[in-house]
C-alpha cells in the first residue's frame, strides 16, 4: 500500500467511524467528570477509568476463565441454532402442512418468559453447559427460522416459472433459485441471532452457573463491586460486537461478490 493510498484509506475510515468515535469520547469524558466531581457516587456508576482498572486487574480471571466459558456457550448455542433454524425454515418452506403446524409453536416459543423458564432448564440439564445452551437456542433460533423461511419465500414467481419451463424439479428450484435469493434475508437473521446468543448465554449464567461473564457480573453485583460488574458487561458487549462483525464479514465474503452485490445494492454503495 502506498502512502497516499494509506492516507486515503484512513480518511475513509475516519469519515465512516469519526462521528461515532467523537460521540463516544464525549460521553466517556462527561461520565468520568460526573463521577470524579462527586455528582454521581462511584458505587452506583463507576468511572470509566476504574472500569478499565478493574478489567486490567482481573484480566486473568476474566479472559482466562469466564470469557471462554461464555464464548463456548454462545458458540455452541449458535451452531445448534443455525442447524435447527435453517432446517426448520427450509422444512416449513417445502411443506405447507409443516408450516401451518409448526409456525405457531415457533412464535409461541418467543412469547415464553425466559426468566421463568430458566429454572426448568436447570432442572432438566443441571448446571452443565447445556442449560445455558438451551437458553441460547431458545433466543437465537427464532431470527434464523424467520430469516430462512421469509428468504426462501421471496423466490420471485417469474423466475420460478421460467425455471419450471426448463423442467426444474422442486429440489432444483430450491437449490438453484430460492437458496441464492434467500441468502440476504438469511444473513440478516444470522446477524440478529449471533447477538442474541451472547444475551442468551448471559441470562443462562445469571440464573444458574458457576462460571462465565454472566455469573461473574452477578457475583460482583452481589458484592457491590460495580467497577468489576461494569467491566464484565463491557466485555460481554464487545463479545457480541465481535461475533456480529464476524458474521458480517462472512456475509460480505459471500454476498459481496459479482452479481450478488448488484442484487443487494452493495455495488452502488461501495462506489460512494
Amino acid at each position: 500500500m502506498t502512502m497516499t493510498a494509506f492516507i486515503h484509506h484512513l480518511r475513509k475510515l475516519l469519515r465512516s467511524y469519526g462521528p461515532f468515535l467523537l460521540l463516544l469520547i464525549m460521553i466517556v469524558t462527561l461520565w468520568e467528570w460526573l463521577v470524579r466531581s462527586g455528582t454521581v457516587p462511584a458505587f452506583i456508576v463507576p468511572a470509566p477509568s476504574s472500569i478499565m482498572m478493574a478489567l486490567i486487574h482481573n484480566r486473568g480471571l476474566l479472559f482466562g476463565t469466564h470469557l471462554p466459558v461464555t464464548l463456548a456457550e454462545a458458540a455452541l448455542g449458535f451452531a445448534l441454532s443455525v442447524l435447527l433454524g435453517t432446517g426448520l425454515g427450509t422444512w416449513m418452506h417445502m411443506s405447507r402442512t409443516v408450516e401451518r403446524a409448526v409456525y405457531p409453536f415457533v412464535i409461541i416459543s418467543q412469547t415464553l418468559p425466559l426468566i421463568a423458564l430458566s429454572p426448568i432448564f436447570i432442572m432438566w440439564f443441571g448446571y452443565s453447559i447445556w442449560s445455558k445452551v438451551a437458553v441460547v437456542i431458545l433466543t437465537a433460533f427464532f431470527p434464523i427460522v424467520v430469516g430462512t423461511y421469509d428468504g426462501l419465500r421471496t423466490g420471485g414467481q417469474a423466475y420460478s416459472d421460467l425455471l419450471r419451463t426448463m423442467g426444474a424439479s422442486r429440489l432444483q428450484l430450491l437449490l438453484k433459485l430460492q437458496v441464492p435469493l434467500a441468502l440476504p434475508s438469511f444473513f440478516s437473521g444470522l446477524k440478529l441471532s449471533v447477538v442474541y446468543c451472547v444475551i442468551g448465554a448471559t441470562i443462562g449464567e445469571w440464573l444458574g452457573g458457576s462460571s462465565g461473564l454472566g455469573y461473574y457480573s452477578r457475583r460482583m453485583a452481589g458484592n457491590l463491586q460495580s467497577d468489576a460488574l461494569f467491566s464484565a458487561v463491557l466485555l460481554l458487549s464487545l463479545l457480541g460486537l465481535a461475533l456480529f462483525l464476524g458474521v458480517a464479514l462472512i456475509e460480505k465474503a459471500v454476498l459481496g461478490r459479482g452479481g450478488f452485490a448488484a442484487m443487494t445494492g452493495r455495488a452502488r454503495r461501495k462506489n460512494i
Binding site: 417469474a158 419451463t165 426448463m166 423442467g167 432444483q172 459479482g258
Partner: protein
C-alpha cells in the same frame, strides 16, 4: 376453477402452428396472450379444450417447450455463461440424480457432454456478440445484450417450440430494431418453431410467416399470411408488399375493434 364467477380468460380459441414456422400473436393488453403462453408451456393446465403437439406427451410440456419472457430474468448471481448453461444443468440433474455415485464410464460421458455444451455456449456467445462478456454479470450488460443472453439461454433450453413473450418489448427503439434484424439474420439457420407475442406491427410483419390477431376474451383468431419472401433483408420495410400488408393489418385491427 371451472365454476369461477369470472368469464373465462380464453374461450373458443383455436390455433395451429406448423414445424419451422414463425407465428406472431397480436392483441390488446389483457386479451390473454400471456395466459395462452403459460398454457402452452405447461405452467397452467386448461379447464377445457385440448392442447396437442408432436414433440411428445402433452402432459410433459414443462421442460420440452422453451419460453422467453419479456424481462430477461437472468439470475443476477450467475455470469452470462453460467446463465446460459442453466438449462443444461437442470436437464443433467434430472437425467442422473445420483451423479456422485455414477460409474466411471458414465462420468466420462457426462464430462464430455459438459465440454460439448460449454463449447456450444462459448461459440454462440461469440456469434451473439457476447464473447467478451461471458464472465460478466447481468447487471454489467446493456439491455440489448441481456436480451440476447436471455435468447441464447432459451435456445440452449433446446425446445423445438420457442415461445417468445414480447422479447424486445422493454428495449429502446434503436436497440429493438437492431435486435429484430439480428433475429432475422439468425432465423434461417435456427430450424425452430417460434410463437411470438408482440404489440409492434412492423416487428410482426418483418419476422413472421403468419400473424394471428387475438380479440379480447380470446375468441376466434384472425389470420394474416405474410407472404414476403425469405431471407428478408433490412430493406423489406420499404417494399410495396410490406406497406400493403401493414395497411391491411392496421385495417383489420381497427375493424375487429382489437385496440
Amino acid at each position: 376453477m371451472s365454476v369461477s364467477k369470472w368469464p373465462p380468460i380464453l374461450d373458443q380459441l383455436s390455433l395451429e402452428v406448423h414445424h419451422g414456422e414463425f407465428v406472431s400473436l397480436i392483441g390488446p393488453s389483457g386479451c390473454g396472450k400471456s395466459t395462452l403462453f403459460k398454457l402452452i408451456a405447461g405452467l397452467l393446465e386448461p379447464t377445457g379444450g385440448a392442447i396437442s403437439w408432436t414433440g411428445g406427451e402433452v402432459s410433459k410440456r414443462l421442460g420440452a417447450i422453451s419460453y422467453m419472457p419479456q424481462q430477461d430474468l437472468l439470475l443476477p448471481w450467475r455470469t452470462v455463461r453460467d446463465n446460459c448453461l442453466l438449462p443444461w444443468e437442470l436437464k443433467k440433474g434430472r437425467l442422473e440424480p445420483g451423479k456422485h455415485g455414477a460409474v466411471p464410464g458414465k462420468l466420462k460421458k457426462s464430462r464430455a457432454e459438459q465440454a460439448a455444451q460449454l463449447a456450444f455456449i462459448t461459440d454462440m456467445l461469440e456469434r451473439f456478440g457476447l464473447g467478451r462478456w461471458a464472465d460478466a454479470y447481468p447487471h454489467e450488460l446493456s439491455g440489448g445484450m441481456r436480451q440476447r443472453a436471455a435468447f441464447l439461454r432459451t435456445l440452449a433450453a433446446g425446445g423445438d417450440l420457442m415461445l417468445l413473450d414480447e422479447p424486445f418489448g422493454a428495449l429502446d427503439a434503436l436497440t429493438k430494431r437492431e435486435m429484430q434484424h439480428w433475429l432475422l439474420s439468425l432465423w434461417g439457420e435456427l430450424q425452430r418453431t417460434v410463437l411470438f407475442i408482440t404489440h409492434d406491427l412492423e416487428e410482426a410483419l418483418l419476422l413472421s410467416d403468419r400473424i394471428l390477431l387475438m380479440p379480447r376474451g380470446g375468441g376466434a383468431l384472425e389470420e394474416i399470411n405474410v407472404d414476403l419472401p425469405r431471407p428478408r433483408q433490412a430493406g423489406v420495410h420499404a417494399t410495396p408488399r410490406f406497406l400493403e400488408l401493414r395497411m391491411e393489418l392496421e385495417q383489420r385491427l381497427t375493424g375487429a375493434d382489437l385496440r
